[in-house]
């Protein structure tokens, strides 16, 4: 791609990632939640993959690491759900509503769910785009 698209991508990708984390962390206050936040995070990676070439992307991302991140986030999600059911930490529920820590363990559930969804969609996008890069007919 040309320099305009690359420069715009360099400017936009951190902003999109910040927006994704905002949506997923404020899921219990404003509309949004773990799933849309994770998909926004993955769409930042989608923009990156479309704009840059294979070598530039693979310098910074390795999919094995993303798979590890996904496993760790899934185990953390399972642990938090079990902790919530078994222990039921009532201290976190005592804050006033509409503040950041008001939702109890919901904020952690949102964060780890967002990481699970984002890394899964990144793996899907990366698998599809790698096939496109390998085939000689493609224009990317």
């Amino acid at each position: 791609m040309d320099a305009i698209i690359k420069t715009t991508t360099r400017l936009l990708v951190p902003l999109i990632m910040v927006f994704g984390f905002y949506v997923s962390l404020h899921g219990h206050i404003s509309p949004g939640g773990g799933f849309p936040g994770g998909v926004i995070l993955a769409s930042a990676f989608l923009l990156l993959v479309i704009a840059f070439t294979e070598k530039e992307v693979e310098k910074h991302f390795s999919e094995i690491k993303i798979g590890d991140l996904k496993s760790v986030a899934s185990i953390a999600l399972l642990g938090i759900v079990l902790l919530e059911v078994i222990v039921r930490p009532d201290i976190l529920h005592l804050q006033t509503p509409l503040t950041l820590w008001s939702g109890g363990v919901t904020i952690f559930l949102n964060l780890f769910g967002a990481i699970v969804v984002a890394s899964g969609l990144v793996i899907i996008v990366y698998s599809l785009v790698k096939e496109e890069w390998k085939s000689k007919k493609s224009k990317w």
Partner: protein
């Protein structure tokens, strides 16, 4: 009033996406349809569904359709 207008625009875009000869244009029209449907969801007081509709269908659906069009060819019909 604007609600019925948006429904009409969504119907017209859906028919245009079916009738388009070039598959890439059909995919782009489908992305526009998803945006209109997201605005309809927002007017029906469901901003959660609007965000999910935009992000999942209009971004990732369009990406997957573009990959499929890139592999199968832009012309409609069997070659």
């Amino acid at each position: 009033m604007i609600f019925e207008l948006l429904l009409l625009v969504a119907t017209i875009l859906a028919i245009a996406a079916v009738e388009a000869k070039d598959m890439l244009y059909a995919v782009l029209i489908l992305g526009g349809l998803d945006l209109v449907v997201a605005v309809i969801f927002y007017l029906m007081a469901a901003p959660d569904i609007a965000i999910t509709q935009i992000v999942v269908t209009a971004v990732f659906g369009t990406f997957i359709y573009v990959v499929a069009v890139n592999r199968t060819g832009r012309k409609e019909g069997i070659e």
